[in-house]
């Protein structure tokens, strides 16, 4: 990507601002990526891109700004993401539209195209997925199509990068030329009505940027914005009766009382005509497509859900089993690294800051990179194969019982990776109530950052064979808890009618290794970056808070006790006591001690209480806090110096379970909370969320603790 600040973008004669418009899942984002080396998120389902993104790049002597807009099926404001696109196209300033269409399903895609053609903007059509069309033996005569609709059409493939050069050339050429005159024709009765309005506008020499023909069409289509602009014109009084009569004629002709429906039929007829002219389907395809064959297994009414659960289970099994292999090496590396580096530093405080603070904190977080990578691969596969929409389909009935929308599944699954994009992708839900409900539930889907905590505790208390199942159990129970919470909220706070569920099921696609690697790499780099900056800083802070103030009285009294004895074991015992006492006297220890009574009913000691509080900043910090606290504290005796060992030694199983329950339920992190507040639209929702999750977490952990105590 070109690293230019969008605001500093030079508006010169050679600058072309392109709006990329198309239906969902036609490859808009991927097309930008292949034109410009940008790294936009690509996935095989509707609703990947939910906000507009600008990408800048240079081509020969031109500089381009391309705006990737959320996909939209038609020119409506059905969902928030569609509103983003609609508003952009109507209100913003841009030079040209690239309308991306799916060559393998031209007729449906042209539905949007024909609406774009009445905008009086320069348009170039990118017939994307031409590689897939070739495989399906679909040929499109792009040249003939350009002539028929009066707009340049270029065959491209975002995957093979075929035709990308031609597309840019076509855009430049169109940009230099005068506005095109799209040839969009309607049935005779409609054309007559249009002609009459055009004649009227011509007669009054009505001035506007749009052509009179387009104004007429938009008026007949009941386009609100066109109405609004004409409403204040003097000609309106005379125009209105003509319009009403014209609309009646058209409705009569279409035997419908809905002018929009009538126009949709007009467009459909026009599109059918175009498709009949330019598309050739070689040898009528076999009875069932590959997608349908796969679907007959994966969304089978009986087998579908068990298959899905099996996939999930396998993912967590893999996460633990494969993730555990490099873990030992990483762990011993950081211990070695800490010791080696520590030996070279003479100042006690600095050594402790580096070894017990930064290395212990960051090392504890980096330990889980392998697990995170596997989880990300799983999510990337789910997103890019097309399976995501199938699961939404399978679970819709189930979700619906809990008051959630089937499409909520998409933000919820995204939530297993990270809550922030999940909050964003809730925009695909049309209804504000459904959206808010989903926003409240997303936190229950344990995000990638919580995985380290789970792996740490599952590994500390269970054998490797069981740990994978425990992970699966944690995730599933988190999700089920989320559903129960949804039901509760639906019955109380978010009462109301259900939103309709109409969702496209994309065809299955074999994701390219490159795409998967790319997605996973981007996310992993983000995790690493976070560990190197945010988590390292937090670890330093925690180290500071747990080392200061120095309690000299304590140190001296122990020092004299230690010097009085010469027995080695008593000495080390006293040292251990001193370390613990110092830690408890530190700022962090005081906070922990202060809040300990609050968490005592859940069986947490003050270190765990502190870790939960620092975890409000980010869940990785829970692990790094524990890492710092246990490496500073009394864990000096023989045996494992690893965090996992320290945990299994110092924490009871019941407390550990309660701890996991709290982690599962309470607020994801600071950054996610900010995004939540923005997406929910009001700060009050954040306080609701905070109260709701904290109380639920506390109550559930209390029960979990006591039940576990009873059994152990």
């Amino acid at each position: 990507m070109n690293e230019v600040d969008p605001k500093a973008c030079p508006i010169t004669a050679n600058h072309i601002k392109v709006a990329l418009v198309g239906q969902p899942n036609v490859g808009k984002s991927m097309l930008i990526n292949s034109i410009s080396n940008a790294h936009l998120h690509v996935g095989n389902f509707s609703g990947v891109t939910v906000d507009k993104t600008e990408v800048l790049f240079d081509y020969e002597e031109y500089s381009f700004t391309v705006i990737d807009l959320p996909g939209t099926y038609a020119f409506t404001d059905y969902t928030i993401e569609e509103r983003v696109t609609h508003d952009y196209l109507c209100a913003e300033d841009y030079d040209i539209i690239i309308n991306v269409v799916d060559s393998t399903n031209l007729e449906k895609n042209l539905q949007l195209t024909s609406e774009l053609l009445t905008m009086s903007k320069k348009v170039v059509i990118a017939l994307n997925m031409s590689d897939e069309a070739l495989k399906e033996k679909i040929t499109i005569n792009a040249k003939y199509m350009s002539e028929l609709i009066g707009v340049p059409c270029v065959q491209v493939s975002a995957v093979t990068k075929e035709g990308i050069g031609e597309l840019i050339e076509a855009v430049i050429k169109k940009h230099e030329n005068v506005r095109n005159k799209p040839k969009l024709f309607f049935s005779e009765p409609v054309e007559e009505e249009i002609a009459q309005i055009v004649w009227y506008l011509d007669k009054h020499k009505f001035e506007s940027a749009n052509t009179h023909r387009n104004i007429a069409i938009n008026l007949l289509k009941n386009n609100k914005k066109t109405y609004a602009t004409l409403h204040d014109e003097p000609i309106w009084t005379e125009l209105q009766p003509i319009l009403i009569e014209a609309s009646q004629h058209i409705e009569l002709h279409h035997d419908s009382d809905d002018i929009k429906e009538a126009f949709a039929e007009e467009y459909a007829a026009f599109n059918r005509g175009i498709v009949a002219e330019v598309v050739k389907q070689g040898m009528k395809s076999v009875k069932r497509t590959t997608t349908e064959k796969i679907d007959s297994v994966l969304i089978h009414p009986v087998a579908g859900i068990p298959i899905f659960l099996f996939f999930m289970w396998s993912l967590f099994q893999l996460t633990f089993e494969v993730g555990a292999i490099p873990m030992e090496y990483i762990d011993s590396f950081f211990i070695w690294f800490g010791e080696t580096l520590g030996a070279t530093i003479s100042n006690d405080d600095i050594r402790s800051l580096i070894v017990d603070g930064i290395i212990a904190g960051v090392g504890a977080v980096l330990l889980f990179v392998p697990n995170i990578i596997i989880l990300f691969i799983g999510i990337a596969l789910l997103e890019s194969t097309g399976y995501m929409s199938r699961v939404a389909f399978l679970l819709d009935g189930f979700f619906h019982k809990f008051g959630l929308h089937g499409q909520s599944f998409i933000p919820l699954v995204t939530g297993f990776g990270c809550s922030i994009p999940a909050y964003m992708s809730a925009r695909i839900l049309k209804n504000d109530r459904d959206r808010l409900l989903t926003l409240f539930i997303i936190g229950f889907m344990s995000c990638g950052a919580r995985l380290p905590v789970y792996v740490l505790f599952a590994g500390a208390f269970f054998s490797p064979e069981m740990a994978g199942n425990i992970l699966f159990l944690i995730y599933i129970s988190g999700a089920l808890l989320g559903l129960a919470a949804a039901k509760l909220l639906k019955l109380t706070a978010f009462k109301g009618l259900d939103e309709p569920f109409v969702m496209e099921m994309p065809k299955y696609r074999l994701p390219s290794v490159k795409l998967i690697c790319h997605t996973v790499l981007t996310k992993t780099m983000m995790y690493l970056k976070k560990a190197g900056t945010y988590i390292a800083a937090a670890s330093m802070l925690i180290w500071f808070l747990s080392n200061y103030p120095h309690n000299l009285v304590l140190e001296e009294s122990y020092a004299s006790m230690i010097s009085k004895t010469d027995k080695e074991d008593v000495k080390s015992k006293l040292k251990y006591e001193l370390d613990e006492a110092l830690l408890e006297a530190s700022y962090l220890g005081r906070i922990g001690k202060f809040s300990e009574p609050l968490f005592a009913p859940l069986g947490f000691d003050w270190k765990m209480s502190v870790a939960l509080q620092t975890g409000l900043a980010a869940k990785e910090v829970v692990v790094s806090t524990l890492g710092v606290l246990y490496s500073l504290g009394g864990d000096v005796d023989e045996g494992s110096s690893s965090l996992m060992g320290a945990i299994s030694k110092n924490i009871s199983l019941a407390s550990a379970i309660a701890f996991i329950v709290v982690i599962m339920i309470y607020l994801p992190c600071l950054a996610a909370s900010v995004v939540f507040t923005r997406e929910a639209g009001h700060i009050k929702y954040f306080f609701y969320l905070f109260a709701f999750t904290s109380i639920t977490a506390y109550v559930m952990a209390f029960f979990a603790y006591n039940i576990a105590l009873f059994f152990t």
Binding site: P301, G304, L394, M505
Partner: protein, 75 residues
């Protein structure tokens, strides 16, 4: 009156009328579900709560409540 919900798997039907208004109607139309369109029922989710249909080349999932609003005729 027969609706899409009454159709069994692999049933091929033609849309007669959309018994709905406003946003949902627009949505259905933008998915190509409009008068005269030919639909094929592909699959029912457990409990027939959600159905998968095919319109042209596109597969669409609808909930039973929505399917009930689509009046169809066997062809």
């Amino acid at each position: 009156m027969k609706t899409l919900l009454d159709c069994n798997k692999t049933c091929v039907v033609k849309v007669i009328k959309l018994n709905t208004k406003g946003d949902l109607k627009q949505r259905l139309i933008s998915f190509g579900i409009m008068k005269e369109a030919v639909l094929e029922v592909l699959e029912h989710a457990p409990g027939k709560s959600t159905i998968e249909i095919k319109v042209g080349k596109m597969r669409i999932a609808l909930r039973a409540q929505e399917a009930e609003l689509i009046e169809v005729q066997k062809i």
